[in-house]
Amino acid sequence: MSYLGTVPGTNLIALWLAAAPERLVRLGGIDVVIVALYFAMVIGIGFYLKRFANTGEDFFLAGRDMTAWIAGLSFVAANLGALELMGWASAAYQYGILATHWYWVGAIPAMLFLGIVMMPFYYISKTHSVPGYLRLRYGEGARGLSAISFAAMTVLMSGINMYSMALVMKVVLGWDIHFSIWISSLTVAVYVFLGGLLSAIFNEVLQFVLIWLGALLIPILGLVEAGGWNGMVQRIAANVGHGDYVHLWRTLGSFQDNPMGIHWTGIVVGLGFVISFGYWTTDFLVVQRVLSARNLHAAKMAPIIGAGFKMMVPFIVILPGLLGIAVLPEKLVGESVAAATGAHSYNEVLPLMLARYCGPGLLGLGITALMAGFMSGMAGNVSAFATVWTYDIYGAFIRKRAADSHYLSVGRWCTLVGVLISIGTAYLVMQFLSIMDYVQALFSFFIAPLFGTVVLGMLWKRATAAGGFWGLLAGTCSSVGMWAWVKIDPSALGVIALSSHAKDMAENMYRALWSWIICVTVTVVVSLATRPKPAKELTGLVYGCTELPSERELKLTQRPIFWAAVIAVVFVILNLIFW
């Protein structure tokens, strides 16, 4: 899962891709060797790590032996899909630096909150998954609801990413769609089947390094060509007529003043609080990486390290989009116009910048970075699906007591089944493009309410099993209801976003906010009307009932809270610089 559903323009990506007339770049022999070496390495890692994945704990949680750095990099890499990179570069070309909010206010506070506040409960409870935590805290009802929705949506989303990747490869390289789908999915299937989460994490760290090395050259050369930051700003002003493309907050005073049609309250509360906290603290795809940490200290540090790297991602995603406005000779257009006229679309800004600066060798590295991004996202989905299916569906409702080796075997085969379902979804989407929109919307239904349920469970010991279940259900249903309302009557957007000037982007923010409020309200009301668990049953699960290990014996620079504060200060400074 990702923020993909909120990327402006990506819902039309298929339209653009289907109509794109020819490949953007042509790989030379040396580029092909670079791509082939990458595939050989990731498969080789899978075969190598198979011998170390002998138990369920090894396969599903990488033996809970990851260092903070590995878990932190994997935590960020699992989210750093190539479609997301291309989507946000495209958004930066359309809306300017506003797109950075999805990387900064839409991620950093939530990651720090996960590390400092929530991770102790996830880790001390020794849960295998987020649905597993819900079982411990609220019982089987909330766990079942969360596990089934997560498992279904994860494989569907994986299929959509797979199809999108194949289409991107078709446009960028001219590759056959079927070839791309099968070669990438089989590669991911092989290395996750063999080494489980251990293999996925190893490859995610590799992919993270490749993404940076492949993409970093674009902003460096772009800034050289544009004449530095000031030169870029002047060129943007000359090309589009104003400088609002380079200010983060200045234009968010009203819905009409910025091209996204959003108000700062939507960004701060809807994105920065509800959606971001929901995704980064309860989506098992990313949380699973942190659960693999070797101890509580590493588990707390991992999201903080991840936040540091996340804060830098705009330099390889947003900056190329801005540089595209400044230096590309042609003006990029929307997907529908591109499909009708044959012009280049917003979504092509990253590949166009790559082709602009990179010759043989560097081009291969850049394309490998894109592929690495796609595959890390796919592997993340598949490994998370295998864990939730095995522990929270199969082990909870189908075969409750079996040997660890049995669950290990189920997990392995589940990986293959997950990939096959993803491939099926990819082909289904190929036939019915509108499915893509619906699945992305489906994912968004669960994020905000789940955060309400989990955070109340961790911080409020009075929350009860009935409160958790009905709150989650009410929040999810209300999100579905608001989405359907806007689909049937688009003017309802004005009611949900509290302004008739609101645009599509605002709907996601405010729908998330309302569904979270409804979830929390229902959870509180039902909890107050039902009998709570005794405090002794909440040990290790809830604040106030759990003794958290003291960090007083650690030096200041070893304490997670110190590094969280450092990241927070840098975060504030960056926002002030680009205000």
């Binding site: 040396i30 060797v33 670079i34 070496l37 990458y38 390495m41 890692i45 190598y48 170390f52 990488a62 033996g63 032996d65 990851m66 260092t67 590995i70 190893f202 760290v205 590799l206 390094v209 090395l213 050259l217 050369l221 050289v224 060509e225 070797r294 230096v327 082709a355 602009r356 600066y357 990179c358 010759g359 043989p360 060798g361 560097l362 291969g364 590295l365």
Partner: protein, 72 residues
Amino acid sequence: MHKPGMVSIWFLIGLLLVAYGILILSAGVYEYFSPPSQAPVLAGLHAAIWWGLVVLAIGAFYCWRFQPRKTK
């Protein structure tokens, strides 16, 4: 992540980066002596040469720092 006998991920990354660095550097040197007819923008900076060196240096450092005998 330090199971007995397990090679560090950073060593594996180092190996791949060394190979990539050599390939990119080679391509850059080749282009330096025989420039292509359709060169990319800023081709005069010879990015493949210095970026290839950067990748090679990072890879070599990882290979040295995380070599299996050293991390045992």
